[in-house]
């Protein structure tokens, strides 16, 4: 793990203002920003880990826990919000038993709330991994989730 992060940092070494590209690259490679990653970046950029954490947490794009196998995004953009996105989110939270930004204990799902996927005509939408589900209603949420649950869990 440490070595992967070191490899990611290498091209940016000594460059001022390279923190965000590094964080993005780390997230892309490892899926999230770990404590280890932050301290490794801190050492090589000569910054304090707190400063790095402060920068990272300013942006919503970074996550600090290992993501699940499937990413469930519930849209709460204007159109989806008007058409009941809030209820979809509540329903999803109840089914998965986690809050947005968290991952289920079995690492199967992560939940995120997003603001507009750019397909407002289909509102309200839920996006699982890269697939968009249009015109979702509360009962449909369960069906969508169950598609991604592993077979032994279903029984």
């Amino acid at each position: 793990m440490k070595n992967t992060i070191k490899d990611i940092i290498k091209p940016y070494q000594g460059e001022k203002g390279s923190l965000i590209p590094i964080l993005q690259a780390v997230q892309e490679k490892t899926g999230f920003i770990s404590e280890d990653a932050v301290s490794t970046i801190a050492l090589s950029l000569n910054m304090s880990e707190h400063e790095i954490y402060g920068v990272a947490t300013f942006y919503t794009q970074f996550r600090y826990t290992k993501p699940g196998d499937h990413m469930v995004k519930v849209c709460l953009g204007t159109a989806c919000h008007v058409r009941g996105g809030e209820q979809l989110l509540n329903r999803t939270e109840n089914i998965l038993n986690i809050k947005p930004g968290q991952t289920t204990p079995d690492s199967a799902f992560s939940l995120e709330r997003v603001a507009c996927m750019g397909c407002c005509a289909l509102a309200p939408v839920i996006v699982v991994d890269d697939k968009i589900y249009p015109n979702v209603t509360s009962p449909k949420v369960e069906k969508i989730i169950s598609k991604y649950s592993s077979p032994d869990e279903k029984e």
Partner: protein, 788 residues
């Protein structure tokens, strides 16, 4: 020239509008601006109007420019500021700030409870010095139109020394910036954003785990009660504030002692302090009250009777001391001057030893001082370093060798940080702590045995590459050729192998020294673990000279007044002002001014005194605080006199113990590592019937009918010091009077010198007391630092 509120004023280039206003006595309300920090523009309270500028620019981030016409105060601005303040207050518990009955508060002062959360009006630890309150009063905000939101964050109390209640935080960012910009640590940062913004650490770690040094700079910077020192948060306004000098290390920080009911309740750094400029460290900021207020302090003179120490009066104790000290031969008596004594006490102690006893067996009780003073006298003629703290900040390069600066002299890291911001290359030779690597450019982990090869390697590269300051070397240095030829045999490759570092790194170090102009070298007590500490100092001085400068060599002495105790002549071979005892003329001068006969034979040094005490040739030992190495047995002594502020291990054998006043309880002066003589002022009275050291010595001298000890206060003693000691003429840095010519010392292979005793690691001590034993929170921090 610009116009501010109709007044035409001049301004310094680069100043902000806020600074111009402050310089001209115009108040602009602000919360986030803080002296020494870069403009931030977070609170939006300092909005002003500037002609021909759009909108309302904040005064703190707008650079002053020629011809500006600035309005700082009119109804429109005040309305804007009021709105901003109301928004700030809508998230800060404000019942104590906005209350039409608040003038009556002091009449019906209720006892503040120690509940954690601040919600009601009497429960804020900062209610007496709240900046938010000042701003509110200035703007005249009487009510808040917005609903109040309590953030409901948990109180953070799990770290030592200070509590954090971020429900009171207004997000001015002063704590974060002071930690980052001034201290260079960055132990906290603003995390998340929008409503969730909070000052915090990475992944919510504790401060202890996050590398916080607990210097308290954030607590001092906080305008609200969000950060508060745990020991003093409920004490309110002090009865009295006394500015004094810290005696817990040799930096010489100026501190304000806040006292109530004749007890020290809190200590804050003095912004006017020449060495610290408003900064302090964990010891100065937090450890002093617990250290001096303890119930275990010695309060009465003690005398051994039937094997037990029993309290007696001063008369009885001093009488006994006078009789006993008079009984023995001068060469059987020895004095150990604690490096924590004031200049006055050290001066009188050596005068007492020389006049009343007739011995030169007196030395500063520190191995570091002995070696260092010898080499320094060889180099500069005086037992002092050649640099000042201000030199550090102005350096182009800095070498720190043989000390963990961040733990031993934390306030100096502020200066190192300052230099580094201006482009100085900082190299640390010695410590491996991870946090250090962020504060320096080159972190070279080498054991003390590797100092000699490493430094001689650097020297060789500097000499052979020829990039040194040739003009300075030709004009002001002798023996360059001798140095050059002595370096011939040195092989960089072997050296790199011997210290376990790469040849590249040595070359990089050498080239930064050559190319960065004036530098400073800070050396610490770890050099004593080298084969020949004196030669290490020689090498360092050579490097400094080759860079074209003799000033900048700074000894990181461990104890507060190591410098002054030496200056005062508490040394076996020197009279005050480093005048050789062996020199008949200077001896005659002192015999004349003290009107007494003085012994002309140099006395025993500190290690020799300790050895003779074991062997039995020294029968009487007079110890003025400060521990002596544990392995030394004092049982062979006939008589042991002790000055101390706490019971110490020497208690088992001491025959008389005099209770001394701590540095917070006495007047006097101490001299810092930069030769700065600074005053001590008593914040409180000495505990019990204890007395300042100088007074104890005078009392014994009086009983021995000696002349020249009739002083009624410390300033009379200081006057005499100024008269007889050519170095000292008052407060401030004493002049080193450097010679015009310096000698470069050739490098020679040294045989391993025999070490009689190992240097005892002194880490956070005062008068031989381990501070971590008296201050429990310090122990936690110490464990963290020592454990990595």
């Amino acid at each position: 020239m610009l116009t501010i509120d109709g007044k035409e004023v001049d301004f310094k280039k680069g100043a902000t509008v806020l600074e111009v206003a402050v310089d001209n006595g115009i108040y602009i309300p602000t919360l986030c601006a803080y002296s020494g920090l870069l403009p931030f523009g977070a609170c939006r309270l300092c909005l002003v109007k500037i002609e021909n500028m759009r909108g309302f620019p904040p005064a703190c981030t707008t650079p002053a420019a020629k011809g500006m016409k600035i309005t700082t105060n009119d109804p429109e601005l005040n309305k804007l500021r009021k709105n901003v303040l109301e928004l700030i207050l809508s998230e800060h518990p404000h019942s104590c700030i906005i209350c039409d009955q608040k003038e009556l508060c002091s009449h019906y002062h209720i006892c503040p409870t120690k509940t954690g959360h601040v919600t009601g009006c009497a429960f804020c630890p900062n209610k007496d010095r709240c900046e938010l309150k000042q701003v509110t009063e200035y703007l005249g905000v009487k009510e808040i139109r917005f609903p109040f939101t309590y953030k409901n964050l948990p109180l953070e109390r799990e770290d030592p020394f200070f509590d954090r209640d971020y429900n009171l935080c207004v997000l001015c960012g002063r704590c974060v910036r002071v930690c980052q910009e001034i201290r260079g640590i960055g132990a906290i940062s603003l995390t998340k954003r929008g409503h969730d913004t909070k000052v915090g650490t990475a992944f919510g770690k504790s401060h202890l785990d996050g590398g916080c040094q607990f210097c308290g700079a954030c607590v001092d910077a906080c305008p609200t009660g969000a950060l508060s020192a745990r020991g003093s948060k409920w004490h309110g306004v002090p009865d009295k504030e006394t500015t004094t000098t810290c005696a817990l290390c040799s930096v010489g920080c100026s501190l304000k002692l806040e006292t109530k009911w004749d007890k020290i309740m809190a200590v804050r750094p003095d912004t006017e302090g020449p060495a610290n400029q408003g900064q302090a460290c964990v010891r100065g900021r937090f450890a002093i009250p617990a250290l001096v207020n303890s119930a275990n302090r010695l309060k009465y003179p003690l005398v051994r009777r039937n094997g037990r120490l029993v309290p007696v009066t001063w008369d009885e104790a001093t009488e006994l001391a006078a009789v006993k000290l008079g009984k023995y031969l001068p060469e059987e008596t020895a004095f150990l001057a604690s490096p924590c004594l004031t200049n006055e006490a050290a001066y009188l102690l050596q005068k007492f030893a020389r006049i009343c006893i007739g011995t030169n067996n007196i030395d500063t009780a520190s191995f570091f001082s002995g070696t260092v003073i010898e080499s320094q006298i060889k180099r500069s003629g005086m037992g002092a370093g050649t640099g000042t703290i201000e030199d550090i900040a102005k350096s182009g390069w800095i070498i720190i060798i043989g000390d963990d600066l961040l733990a031993s002299h934390p306030v100096l890291t502020v200066k190192v940080n300052q230099a580094r911001k201006q482009g100085a290359a900082v190299s640390l030779i010695g410590s491996e702590r991870e946090i250090n690597s962020r504060l320096v450019d080159f972190c070279i982990s080498v054991e003390p045995s590797g100092y000699f090869p490493l430094l001689s390697g650097i020297l060789k590269i500097i000499v052979e590459n020829g990039g040194f300051d040739k003009k300075f070397v030709a004009g002001q240095c002798n023996d360059f050729d001798k140095l050059k030829s002595s370096l011939k045999k040195i092989d960089i490759k072997t050296i790199a192998g011997a210290c376990g570092i790469s040849r590249d790194l040595i070359e990089k170090l050498a080239s930064t020294i050559i190319s960065s102009g004036r530098g400073s070298i800070l050396y610490g007590p770890k050099i004593l673990e080298c084969d020949d500490p004196g030669q290490i100092i020689d090498l360092l001085f050579n490097i400094l000279l080759l860079s074209g400068n003799a000033e900048g060599l700074i000894p990181l002495r461990d104890e507060a007044n190591s410098q002054g105790v030496g200056d005062m002549g508490a040394l076996p071979n020197f009279l005050p002002g480093y005048q050789y005892i062996a020199d008949k003329d200077s001896l005659a001068v002192f015999e004349n001014s003290w009107s007494a006969k003085l012994p002309g034979k140099p006395g025993l040094s500190y290690p020799e005194i300790l050895n003779s005490a074991v062997k039995g040739s020294i029968k009487v030992l007079y110890v003025t605080g400060g521990g002596i190495p544990r392995e030394i047995s004092t049982e062979g002594l006939d008589f042991l006199v002790l000055h101390d502020i706490y019971p110490s291990p020497l208690f088992e054998t001491a025959d008389i113990v005099f209770p001394a006043a701590a540095f917070t309880e006495e007047e006097g002066t101490i001299t810092s590592l930069e030769r700065r003589v600074q005053p001590l002022h008593a914040g409180v009275n000495p505990v019990g019937i204890s007395m300042p050291d100088w007074k104890i010595i005078c009392k014994i001298a009086e009983k021995m009918n000696a002349k020249g000890f009739e002083f009624s206060n410390a300033s009379e003693v200081f006057d005499e010091i100024c008269r007889v000691n050519p170095l000292i003429s008052g407060h401030g840095i004493w002049d080193l009077k450097l010679k015009d010519k310096f000698t470069l010392t050739p490098v020679k292979k040294t045989a391993r010198s025999k070490k009689s005793m190992l240097y005892e690691k002194s880490f956070w001590h005062y008068r031989g007391i381990d501070l971590t034993e008296k201050v429990s929170d310090l122990k936690i921090l110490h464990g963290k630092i020592a454990g990595g």
